[in-house]
């Protein structure tokens, strides 16, 4: 992991309060990145924000030497990130966390199940999976039509089903409703999104091997402060989301 001082290549508002941020990163660093990893971003330059913000890596481009992040304005920190402009300096810890276990996957058809800001990391994952010849079906859940992003991009990977909670776009309901209605199945699934969604997915797909990417409030982002722990299923010990995760095997930790 490195502390990288780089700059913004572009920033774009792609959905309601949702921004696509493209950052310059050199190829040798990009080559070390695994799908599911995240970066830990310093907000502003002064002391007002002492904690960095974790944002998943959505995509990388070796040719352009760029990395893409997609984030939603949630509070004061992401609001400030949204005000970044082309060429502006940005300071990251990169790459953080473990990522999805790409090497061990023995699968033919993988379901990518994302909710809201859990969608971005699944994109780079999907790209890597199809490179390995694995079939990908994406199920993306959003609040409503205005929140939907990256549908076309996922379309380049395979079938895509979009659901909205309020039915203003795609299928009305949750991602698990889509799995029911469309009788979707795969021999593996990867999921990222809000905890209630992950719980529903874990229950629904209890017989399928799955990996979940979790969120937790972070201090250091590198495993040193014990802010971001989750209990293991037996309740006897903890794992750190920032270091042991953010990706965990389904049922490995308590959601």
């Amino acid at each position: 992991m490195k502390k990288l001082e780089t700059h913004v290549v572009s920033i774009e508002n792609i959905a309601k309060a949702t921004f696509k941020l493209v950052i310059h990163v050199q190829a040798d660093m990009l080559n070390t990145i695994k799908p599911g990893q995240f970066v830990h971003i310093k907000v502003g330059e002064g002391t007002e924000h002492m904690l960095r913000r974790p944002i998943s890596i959505c995509d990388i481009s070796n040719t352009n030497e760029t990395m893409t992040l997609i984030f939603k304005v949630f509070g004061k920190g992401t609001d400030q990130l949204a005000k970044l402009t082309e060429g502006h300096a940005i300071d990251l810890l990169i790459p953080c966390g473990n990522g999805y276990p790409m090497d061990d996957i023995e699968a033919e058809h993988v379901l990518l199940i994302g909710g809201g800001i859990g969608v971005p990391p699944l994109y780079y994952l999907g790209k890597q999976l199809i490179k390995k010849g694995i079939k990908v079906t994406s199920i993306l859940g959003f609040q409503s039509a205005a929140d939907v992003f990256y549908e076309d991009d996922f379309q380049t990977l395979g079938d895509v089903f979009v659901a909205t909670n309020d039915g203003t776009y795609g299928i009305h309901g949750f991602v698990t409703d889509v799995i029911n209605e469309q009788s979707l199945f795969g021999d593996y699934y990867f999921s990222c999104g809000p905890t209630p969604m992950l719980q529903a997915v874990e229950t629904k797909l209890k017989d399928t091997t799955g990996y979940l990417s979790l969120e937790e409030r972070m201090g250091c982002g590198i495993g040193a402060c014990y802010a971001c722990v989750v209990k293991t299923t037996d309740g006897e010990s903890t794992k750190k989301v920032c270091q042991d995760g953010p990706v965990f095997k389904a049922n490995e930790v308590q959601l």
Binding site: T47, M50, L51, R52, E216, R217, C220, G223, Y226, T238
Partner: protein
């Protein structure tokens, strides 16, 4: 770099900079960023007698120029720390300061006794953790209780004992004098201020523990004030901390009376911060006309 050297009980420091307890675990993670041998020392994460899982999450929250934490002393227990964590640090050229916590005076004693079998250079006696129901801050708010824990741990330990003071008290000088009299070899200060933030959506305190410890630049003026007052009242050295993030902050702590300085929260903002401060410190000392670190200690006082 002899201008950075400081000699404290049990600690021959090549420079006065060390990470603060709980903010640097046992060093492994930060060793990805720089060679830990560069540090003056390291204050490792708190040890209790048995493994503790700590509080529920959320455990941290950001505040303006600071943060709240309520980790709740999560640690694998002193035996595991001695066997599995401290050996990693033996590979570096720096004295290790172990942070000792407990729920009862006996537990403090037992942890200190267990640590006799380790290679640490000093103990930091944590009687000021605000984030656990039992043990911690109540030992640090009453001078007599603080003195008693100090006395017992001094007897149990085979290395110098630095007592970590809580800022959440009416009279920090009274506590400092009491633990000095009880045999403390030094003081470390300050631990976090007890604070809270409320989640407006959930209508509940944001941290699962309710209250948490406030750290970071926000609390620096309180740290400087307390160190300044305690320096005038005791004759044992002080390791200062609270909001340090650059070499000028370090000089301010030295002038207030600290002999060495620990860096906590700023590691999260910048994992290289201790290393960068060590590089900058000679220039900052020079800029303000000091020949060495020891030359600056206490020089902010009227009669210095």
């Amino acid at each position: 770099m002899s201008l950075l050297k400081v000699e404290l009980p049990g600690l021959a420091l090549k420079n006065p900079i060390m990470p603060a307890s709980g903010c640097f675990s046992f060093g492994k993670e930060y060793s990805q960023f720089y060679d830990l041998s560069k540090l003056g020392s390291i204050m490792v994460k708190a040890a209790t007698l048995h493994k503790r899982l700590g509080n529920d999450t959320p455990r941290v929250a950001e505040t303006k120029s600071g943060m709240l934490n309520a980790i709740g002393l999560q640690n694998p227990g002193v035996e595991t720390i001695i066997n599995e964590e401290l050996p990693f640090l033996a590979g570096f050229d720096l004295p290790v300061i172990a942070n000792v916590a407990g729920s009862t005076i006996e537990e403090y004693e037992q942890v200190a006794t267990a640590l006799r079998r380790s290679d640490i250079a000093a103990i930091e006696l944590n009687i000021s953790c605000p984030n656990v129901k039992e043990g911690g801050v109540q030992f640090g708010t009453d001078p007599e209780v603080a003195a008693e824990v100090t006395r017992r741990v001094k007897q149990a330990a085979n290395v110098p004992v630095y007592v970590k003071l809580s800022p959440n008290v009416t009279d920090i000088v009274a506590i400092a004098k009491a633990v000095e009299q009880a045999g403390a070899d030094g003081l470390t200060m300050i631990n976090t201020l007890t604070g809270m933030t409320i989640d407006l959506n959930k209508r509940r305190p944001l941290l699962s523990n309710g209250v948490g410890g406030l750290s970071g630049p926000a609390i620096k003026p309180v740290a400087i004030r307390m160190i300044y007052q305690v320096y005038e009242a005791v004759n044992i050295p002080i390791i200062g901390m609270g909001g340090v993030r650059d070499a000028e902050d370090v000089l301010e702590f030295l002038l207030a009376g600290a002999s060495a300085v620990a860096v906590g929260t700023a590691n999260f903002e910048n994992p290289l911060v201790c290393s960068e401060i060590i590089d900058d410190l000679p220039f900052v000392l020079n800029k303000y006309g000091f020949d060495s670190v020891t030359d600056a200690i206490g020089k902010g006082h009227i009669d210095a």
